[in-house]
């Protein structure tokens, strides 16, 4: 018997509709999907298979990185003394005499460390430096946030780079403020929090020594990268990470809810309103925490907490003592009203009319809360373009680097790489960007164009031999795209000189 539903859709039709190809009428099918159990099961199976495949690949990448770090650490050999033990004894005796003679003059050397900030104590013995410099741990953090990077609007609002954020602050519309946890002497390099205006933020200074400072985001959107234990709060949710774990996520706070999307690592999310059990989100998963304390998990992915071990994971986690019954229809009603398509169209309309502020706001909204990965990635690209156009190069470079390495769309990856390469003034850096693109697999249909761009950058940087090798490689490609062939003639002429 052919496994089709009452409308005649089978698994192939569902898969084609999910890929937005084939002869399936997408709007009609989307309506049908809401009611047809069989199509829902097929769609769930296909999406889950794809998510599992991606997750396995990501874990493989992470393992490879981990193995590479282990190799680096192993490559470091513990220095062994080249002199004999008698010389060591004589050296130790001399050091003891010096310490006894001059020790009392340095009382601070022996003073106990107070407070959460560990002071740097001179050591009498020379220890080998570690092979890989460890990232500052959460315990080394000072109870403050530092402004790492500001913009003109932030500076006018009193938030200049290297200043400390010690009071609630308003980030103006269109501004981008990057903060980090303060560690002795500098800001923590492995962690950052980028807030996009309009937003209202407030530091939560710890009351007890050793406790980490948290940041409350009352309104606006933010992207967080942390290494170690960190806590970010919104009026609806508490987001918490564990020590020694790298995590990245972005979230948007609206008056009614907080939308959270985890990009990498692991995040524990709990509702502020009620004492509900916290949920754990892994990379690619997302959740909405509503003002009433209700946590709605994204239908794109199942939760990674203990709830997901059930064969039928509940989509809505509602705490038991609910004053008003919340039906699933209520959560459905609060789901984003604007669909990805309409949001994307509004971004395009705003761009065509030249209203960059509106376009960026809409694109950021789509980037943070879009349900389709394709639209989220397209929106990320637009945000990167707009950031570059207003001179926020560092933010755009971070965004485009991430997009170029993670997107599955070869055209978008090539576009993002092109834009990223153009954002660097140094031709050698441009060549490196194209080199990374070429080394990343699977292969792209834009490979020849990328090779040509890398060749041009190498020629600009004076590496004529490198450019010549690319010319030789490109001349062996047959057929060569016309646009590449034209560029190749010019590059060949440059390398022939």
């Amino acid at each position: 018997m052919k496994p089709t539903c009452d409308r005649g859709f089978d698994a192939n039709d569902v898969a084609e509709a999910l890929r937005e190809e084939g002869n399936v009428d997408i709007p009609d099918f989307s309506q049908h999907l809401e009611t047809c159990l069989m199509c829902q099961q097929n769609a769930h199976a296909i999406r889950s298979a794809r998510d599992t495949w991606r997750s396995a690949a990501l874990m493989d990448d992470a393992r490879a990185r981990n193995a590479s770090e282990r190799r680096l650490v192993r490559a470091w050999r513990t220095p062994r003394p080249a002199f004999g033990w008698r010389s060591a004894l004589v050296g130790a005796a001399i050091a003891s005499v010096i310490m006894l003679r001059f020790g009392p003059r340095w009382p601070e050397v022996h003073a106990p460390t107070t407070g959460p900030v560990a002071s740097v104590t001179p050591s009498a013995t020379v220890t080998a430096p570690p092979a890989v410099a460890p990232a500052p741990t959460a315990s080394a953090r000072a109870p403050a946030f530092l402004v790492v990077r500001d913009c003109a609007a932030c500076s006018r609002a009193g938030m200049a780079a290297n200043s400390t954020l010690d009071a609630p602050a308003e980030v103006p519309r269109g501004a981008s403020l990057m903060l980090s946890w303060a560690v002795p002497g500098e800001s923590e390099p492995a962690s950052s929090l980028e807030v996009t205006g309009p937003a209202r933020i407030a530091p939560r200074i710890p009351r007890e020594a050793g406790e980490n400072p948290g940041l409350q985001v009352d309104r606006g959107s933010a992207e967080v990268h942390t290494y170690g234990e960190s806590e970010i709060l919104s009026p609806h949710a508490t987001m918490h990470t564990l020590p020694k774990i790298s995590s990245a996520w972005h979230f948007e706070v609206t008056p009614t809810r907080t939308n959270i999307v985890v990009d990498s690592g692991w995040l524990s999310v709990s509702a502020v309103e009620r004492k509900a059990p916290s949920i754990h989100l892994l990379a690619g998963q997302s959740a909405e925490v509503h003002a009433g304390g209700e946590i709605v998990l994204s239908p794109r992915s199942a939760p990674s907490s203990s709830e997901s071990a059930h064969p039928s994971p509940p989509k809505t986690v509602t705490p038991p003592p609910a004053p008003s019954p919340s039906a699933s229809t209520a959560s459905a009603a609060t789901v984003e009203e604007d669909t990805d398509v309409s949001l994307w169209q509004s971004v395009q309309t705003a761009l065509h009319s030249g209203d960059r502020a509106v376009a960026e706001t809409k694109a950021r909204s789509l980037m943070l809360s879009g349900r389709s990965a394709n639209y989220r990635e397209k929106a990320t690209f637009v945000v990167g373009e707009l950031e570059l156009s207003r001179g926020d190069v560092a933010a755009a470079q971070g965004r485009l680097t991430s997009l170029a390495s993670t997107t599955r769309d070869p055209a978008l990856a090539a576009d993002a790489t092109f834009l990223l390469a153009r954002s660097y003034k140094d031709p050698l850096e441009r060549a490196r960007v194209w080199g990374r693109f070429l080394a990343s697999g699977p292969s792209s249909p834009y490979r020849e164009q990328a090779m040509l761009e890398r060749g041009r950058a190498l020629a600009d940087a004076g590496d004529i031999d490198g450019a010549r090798q690319i010319v030789v490689a490109l001349k062996q490609v047959n057929p060569l795209p016309a646009i590449v062939a034209r560029g190749l003639v010019a590059l060949e002429a440059r390398t022939a000189r």
């Binding site: 829902q40 874990m59 393992r63 754990h280 071990a309 989509k315 080394a439 699977p442 490979r447 030789v472």
Partner: protein, 196 residues
């Protein structure tokens, strides 16, 4: 990856030895080629225990047959084709082999960084194992088509180029593969969760 480069150099000799043996140079640096082939092979077989061996075999084939590369397609397409042929041969062979033999339990893999929740790690592994079991029940051409199209999300035209067959053939294989795979997955408890 470093181990693969070392292995490839050990097996195929250094630049001078390859030159003496009459082997042509690939049009890209060794580490880039190894990286490309491993990524392409992983996109076909996933991060399975046999990935490193298959990558090694594919690299050997590519280097030994590089002088037969005519440049009618991009070099990356050529390497992808070699990987696809290698993976499909392996699937055919392993399906016959497993009728009579078993390798026993796979060794426990080290934890990936970023995943500390044991329940989540176990669930992810279970799901990945179930998916690979389901894929192993498909024929090699169907498996290659569905992996490249639906899991790696490559365009059908590109998949046809890699598998060296017409696009309608890919669509036909894809249709049958989707029906078989979803029928297997919807019966699997790991994938039978509440539909969105």
């Amino acid at each position: 990856m470093g181990r693969l480069v070392d292995l490839a150099i050990t097996m195929l000799g250094d630049d001078a030895e390859r030159g003496e043996a009459g082997l042509c140079e690939p049009p890209m640096a060794w580490p880039d080629l190894v990286s490309l082939v491993r990524a392409q092979m992983r996109s076909l077989v996933g991060p399975t225990p046999e990935l490193e061996d298959l990558t090694q075999s594919a690299l050997e084939r590519i280097v030994r047959a590089i002088d037969r590369f005519e440049g009618r397609a991009a070099f990356s397409t050529y390497t992808y084709r070699v990987c696809a042929r290698q993976a499909m041969n392996h699937w055919r062979w392993s399906s016959r082999w497993r009728r009579w033999f078993s390798l026993g339990e796979a060794p426990e893999e080290s934890e990936a960084p970023g995943h500390t929740n044991p329940a989540a790690i176990t669930l992810e592994r279970e799901r990945a194992a179930s998916l690979h079991r389901a894929l192993a029940r498909l024929s090699a051409p169907k498996r290659a088509a569905i992996v490249l199209c639906d899991l790696e999300e490559l365009p059908t035209a590109r998949v046809a180029e890699i598998l060296e067959c017409p696009e309608p053939t890919v669509r036909s294989r894809l249709r049958h593969a989707r029906l078989e795979l979803t029928s297997l997955l919807t019966k699997d408890p790991c994938f039978r969760g509440e539909a969105p």
